[in-house]
Symmetry: C2
Subunit: 274 residues, 2 copies
């Protein structure tokens, strides 16, 4: 499952690539059922500000064979290898829930800011792959992207003041609606003036590949439609974190840098998740 | 300037009608300049929760000849007369600012709830006309509408608890992001399941006619684009408020029920607003 030359050029130019119908509805149903089976109180769980609604899950591939198998899926690993021009390891695994009526804002940011500042990841040789578990439309808070904004490189921003979490839960500030490292309004305005904003929408089973330095955001989900996405971050095996401070928990930043071997196509369907 | 039979049927069926290129860019520029000339501390001004950003202005036609002339514009009054099948008076005049980066959410609601409960307006024989002063796109918080939801009639909802404003400023609860009368998630879910959600977008100068009972909402504006709209509400002269309690201020609910006379076409351009 390799990307075409045009697809690679599109990614290079825009910092993202959207592909519809990438996973079948059957495969997505398996993933949905697996999500429902996951323990509700796993350590990588983040709640919304209402302290009830699940905002995101992290590292759940560690306790799910189905999700572990997804990480190694050849339809994901092979394009990641192409784009990063190297073998890859799993850097981060998460599920963003964006619950109907309750999923809160993600302010404008670049993901790599967190990985550089918090984890000491040397270079932005990372690729995010978002797998749509629900239809994404213009109403359930699609990702807003500024095309080509990855070419600005990492934009230095100051950390926001702590939002009152203790040190133990400090990592949570990187995932709440009060995000620790946000782009300034001025940054966003300048980039959007030149390059506009887009919001890839499509059926469940679509995937969105996007660069660690692309500027992105999403509004609160006020619609009655869930917008669940699995986001897998791959990093080049030449790009290993060099931590300058205490490491973040392993459910946020994987410690296993073994190159992933692409798994055969039906790996998603070989487990009984019913 | 009359609506066609098809346009009237569309409005009847969907509860809204979107018309692009309704006012020229020259006319819109006049209106924009006029807005900038308005006093910043007029009594009908509502701020966002940040206590700085202007959220909305009310009743400013009272101190602007240009805006007063817009209210009487034949391109607005004539369709209003057609739709309401009667002569009309001005019920409410407002400007929703939805400022770039700062304009906050409008939760799901029906406008007529407020006019019925707060003002004693007997029937939903009212028409909103929204005039786009900026381009509306999928990023600067377009109005989300549930097509046909006006046919459910007025859905009874409980008032939210007071958000701490004193009695004097009680009317402000009808305009803040903590809106007093909201539709329940269950209401919205049921209606959207049957009828979907739409978001009319288009260039500045477009207009959106919409029914007082249509369910609508808008997300916070996290984009760098302003989304200013003038919203004029016309009511049938057969539909006069019968207040059951102390009246809301006149800048919110007009007291002059004189039928409006449609004004000639160049009325918007006859004032020097430079």
């Amino acid at each position: 499952m390799l990307l075409s030359e045009n697809q690679r050029k599109d990614y290079e130019k825009n910092g993202f690539l959207f592909l519809g119908d990438y996973f079948s509805h059957q495969e997505i149903s398996h993933l949905q059922r697996e999500l429902e089976r996951l323990p509700k109180d796993a350590p990588g769980t983040i709640l919304e500000n209402d302290n009830k609604t699940v905002r995101a899950l992290h590292g759940c591939h560690e306790y799910s064979q189905v999700l572990k198998s997804l990480v190694q899926h050849h339809r994901l690993v092979q394009p990641a290898q192409q784009i990063l021009n190297e073998r890859v390891y799993l850097y981060q695994f998460k599920v963003n829930m964006k619950a109907a009526f309750r999923g809160d804002v993600w302010p404008w940011h670049q993901d790599y800011t967190f990985w550089y500042k918090e984890d000491g990841l040397p270079r932005p040789e990372v690729l995010n792959v978002s797998i749509f578990l629900d239809e994404v439309n213009h109403f359930n808070s699609p990702l807003y992207l500024i095309p080509g904004s990855h070419k600005y490189g990492l934009i230095d921003v100051e950390a926001r003041e702590s939002n009152g979490h203790g040190e133990a839960a400090d990592w949570q500030a990187n995932f709440s609606a009060n995000l620790k490292y946000c782009l300034s309004q001025n940054n966003v305005e300048q980039m959007a003036k030149k390059r506009g904003i887009v919001a890839p929408v499509g059926a469940k089973g679509s995937v969105l590949f996007f660069h660690g330095n692309i500027a992105h955001a999403s509004v609160p989900n006020i619609s009655p439609y869930n917008r669940r996405q699995i986001i897998i971050t791959y990093s080049s095996v030449q790009n290993i974190p060099i931590p300058k401070k205490q490491r973040r928990p392993e459910f946020l930043v994987c410690r296993d840098y073994t190159p992933l071997q692409p798994e055969k196509d039906d790996s998603l369907l070989q487990f009984n998740t019913v």
